[in-house]
Amino acid sequence: MSEQAVISEVPGVFYRKPSPDEPVYVEEGQKVKAGETIGLIEVMKNFYEVTAPADGTVKAFKAEEGDVVDAGQEIAVIE
């Protein structure tokens, strides 16, 4: 199976949860559908959804909760 990188289109701070007290959108190893939200990027007090580019399994996250990410940076790998 081919791997596909999930790329952040905007710079900001990455979150895996919709809010601090809630569970993560997806766990590593979990199946996702194309377009499904797997995280958020906070950019200038706005939240931008990071979505899965294709159906598959989230193999690994490359950014952790609260990490600073750049535009174009790899956030996760989907298999």
Binding site: G12, V13, S19, D21, M44, G66
Partner: protein, 450 residues
């Protein structure tokens, strides 16, 4: 002997620079605290001292009160000015400053707590004879209670978080079904955003105007108002253009509103500079919305028409000085407009961080309160506002014409800004006629030329 020896500014960007300007005039040394993302920012260079307090993320830097207190102690600052946003309305932080013997430039922590709780603020203002939006002054314990309260008030209503503010944590409910749908999610949102899930209901005001009154009270029982600011031009519930005086008020209504606002502030023994926010319906009825217990972003329009330095007043009052100004000393002279320049797409409002390759600003006939200079980076970590443009004229028309001229001379490259939106507002008939509400941007603007 000055008011303070050394002031730490617990903020960044334009407001940090603004506060430092007054500190210099008053002979107070300044300490900047900054995150790694801001190490090359103008406000850091302009301060007498600087302390790196953490990484870019605000939670680990500008919102970390203990790191800021540590920095103040290290640099022996005897006062902390919180600016706006960040820790400015955080009563626990103000309390911590007090414990450490550092003067917090703002009101007493107890008053901050009281006004931060919207249900309590409504009750207090009601007691003081300040009109409040018709609604329920209690905490809604359950959906059943909300439904019966809503039934007696009558729809449409606003469901609001008691700890909310700035347009966050409120939901319009037009009928029973919408209230049922919104109740649990609004409560959850309020709890996760503000750490308090308390909700209340108030009548929804259609096509409202947002007008606020600047009040100043010292610690000796003296208080004055500095008239109003018209803040109805907003996008996403956030202001983009403010002016003073408001074109919507006549002299009698202005006097009544401003006196009412001051009475409300004095009734809760408010001290320092504060803003009473009101909402107006289309029949010129006004209602108290909330009080901002801090310096306001749009304070320059008030400074321009009254000639008063509000930051200097904040510092003097915090230093326990008696307010020398009397109400009769405060006169409206001319008209002032402020435009907020945001790093964002002018149509979608989506943030546009990046490198500020070009920033050319006119030098004359304008007040520019900017956080950045040409060559700086506009980082994605903080508010998208990069600067404020303030013009003054002998009347409203002159202030608008001057603003148009200034905006035409501004050149920005490298990031998107809302400059085209600001220009379209200034050219629109509704704005020029002074006939606008908070729905102005969504109802009137098309941005066809962008």
């Amino acid at each position: 002997m000055g008011y303070f020896n050394r002031m730490l500014i617990a903020n960044r960007g334009e407001i940090a620079r603004r506060i430092m300007r007054t500190c210099r005039e008053l002979g107070i040394e300044t300490v900047a605290v900054y995150s790694e993302a801001d190490k090359d920012a103008p406000f850091v260079k302009e301060a007498d001292h600087g302390v790196l307090i953490g990484p870019a993320q605000a939670k680990q830097s500008y919102l970390d009160g203990e790191k800021i207190i540590e920095a103040a102690k290290e640099k022996q600052a005897d006062a902390i000015h919180p600016g706006y946003g960040f820790l400015s309305e955080n009563a626990a932080f103000a309390e911590r400053c007090k414990e450490e013997g550092i003067c917090f430039i703002g009101p007493q922590p107890e008053v901050m707590t009281m006004m931060g709780d919207k249900i309590q603020a409504r009750k207090k203002m009601d007691e003081a004879g300040v009109p409040i939006v018709p609604g329920y002054n209690g905490k809604l314990e359950s959906l059943d209670e909300a439904l019966s309260v809503a039934e007696s008030l009558g729809y449409p209503l606003m469901l609001k978080a008691s700890a909310g503010g700035g347009g966050i944590g409120m939901e319009l409910v037009r009928d029973e079904e919408e209230l049922k749908k919104a109740f649990a999610s609004t409560m959850k949102k309020a709890d996760s955003f503000f750490g308090d899930g308390s909700l209340f209901l108030e009548k929804w005001i259609q096509n409202p105007r947002h007008i606020e009154v600047q009040v100043v009270c010292d610690q000796h029982g003296n208080g004055i108002h500095l008239f109003e600011r018209e803040c109805s031009i907003q996008r996403r519930n956030q202001k983009i253009l403010e002016e003073s005086p408001s074109p919507f008020l006549d002299d009698a209504l202005r006097a009544e509103l401003c006196e009412t606002a001051l009475k409300g502030a004095q009734n809760i023994n408010y001290t320092n500079v504060g803003t009473m926010e009101f909402i107006f319906d289309d029949h010129q009825n006004y209602y108290f919305l909330e009080m901002n217990t801090r310096l306001q972003v749009e304070h320059p329009v008030t400074e321009e028409i009254t000639g008063v330095d509000l930051v200097a007043l904040q510092i003097k009052i915090a230093a326990n000085e008696v307010l020398v100004l009397q109400q009769d000393d405060i006169k409206i002279k001319g008209h002032a407009i402020e435009n907020r320049l945001y790093a964002e797409d002018p149509k979608t409002f989506f943030p546009s961080p990046g490198s500020l390759e070009t920033l050319e600003l006119p030098k004359d006939g304008v007040r520019l309160d900017f956080g950045v200079e040409q060559g700086n980076k506009v980082t994605p970590f903080y508010d998208p506002m990069i600067g404020k443009i303030i013009t003054f004229g002998e009347d409203r028309k002159a202030a608008i014409e001057q603003m148009k001229k200034v905006l035409e001379e501004i050149k920005v490259q490298g990031i998107k800004t809302n400059l085209p939106l600001l220009q379209e507002i200034l050219d629109s008939k509704a704005f020029r006629d002074g006939n606008y509400t908070t729905k102005f941007v969504e109802n009137h603007l098309t941005l066809q030329n962008v």
